[in-house]
């Protein structure tokens, strides 16, 4: 299992946005975290919807890569689509995100993701993504 400091699984985009791995849950699900700073700011003092979407997507890819590794499979991940639901304004504090693989198919995966700030049971945004797992 990867250490919490291991950032190899993150894309250059995610690293550039300041996303990092917060911890691994007991079920081997990565929790991603981004600090609030100007890089993610939209309306003053609030997250830009695109930055929140980027965090959700990153948490989805991180879990899918971990699952592929767990199954000893290698694949190039390609986005098919994402639908983001914005539930509450992201305020000027750290935001966390965690994904769940709803379906792990042979060629594609369906993933749901939630992002929260203070309380994991009160998400500020959720996403559903379909990701293609191409042969590498």
């Amino acid at each position: 299992m990867a250490e919490p400091t291991d950032m190899d699984a993150l894309t250059p985009y995610a690293r550039s946005l300041g996303i990092h791995l917060e911890r691994w849950e007991d079920d081997d699900t990565p929790v991603m975290r981004v600090e609030f700073d100007e890089t993610v700011e939209g309306r003053p003092g609030h997250y830009h919807g695109g930055a929140t979407g980027g965090l959700l997507e990153t948490a989805g890819y991180a879990l899918l890569r971990a699952e592929l590794e767990h199954r000893d499979r290698s694949a190039v991940l390609k986005p098919i689509n994402i639908t983001v639901q914005y539930l509450a304004a992201g305020k000027n504090q750290a935001t966390y995100a965690k994904a769940r693989i709803t379906k792990f198919g042979r060629r594609s995966a369906n993933i749901t993701v939630e992002a929260w700030q203070d309380d994991p049971t009160r998400p500020i945004a959720t996403a559903v993504m379909n990701v293609l797992m191409a042969e590498s």
């Binding site: 830009h48 919807g49 695109g50 930055a51 980027g54 390609k78 639901q85």
Partner: protein, 152 residues
């Protein structure tokens, strides 16, 4: 749009919105607009790539580009700036963007109600006839005292 006095000028507004924050970090710039649409440009950047080893722009920046272009399209259609919040945004990534190319995000506000704004749009890397992504989104207008209910 020349010779017309716009209360909401997307070219000027883009300069304001991209002076700082997430849009500024992405380096978004204004391209073009019509009565109910706005197109913005996301320049190619090495640090916005997705999968390691692939020379492909990550999908996150396209989401941000389309969110911003959609907000601008709504304000252009309203012809004023007002507080709005993204409620729902769907992006279909139909093909990867070409390496080294800017990505252009064009969004159109096709329906405004008292409380909601409906938009659709596409992202392309030079030819709008061959998009890299299609989007659809709903934004809510934020009333001064807080959000209003859908269809209210």
């Amino acid at each position: 749009m020349t010779g017309e006095e716009l209360k909401f000028d997307p070219a000027e507004a883009t300069k304001f919105f991209t002076a700082r924050g997430h849009s500024g970090w992405l380096g978004l710039t204004y391209c073009d607009h019509g009565d109910d649409w706005v197109e913005l440009e996301l320049p190619w950047r090495e640090d916005l790539l997705g999968e390691e080893g692939q020379r492909v722009l990550a999908s996150g920046p396209i989401l941000s580009l389309m969110d911003m272009a959609s907000g601008m399209a709504i304000w252009r259609t309203l012809d004023e700036f007002s507080a709005i919040a993204t409620l729902d945004l769907r992006v279909d990534y139909v093909r990867p963007a070409r390496e080294g190319a800017s990505v252009f995000g064009r969004s159109q506000c096709y329906r405004l109600t008292r409380s909601a704004a409906f938009v659709r749009g596409l992202a392309h890397d030079g030819d709008a006839g061959d998009p890299v992504a299609h989007i659809q989104a709903v934004f809510m207008k934020i009333a001064p005292q807080g959000p209003v209910v859908p269809n209210g």
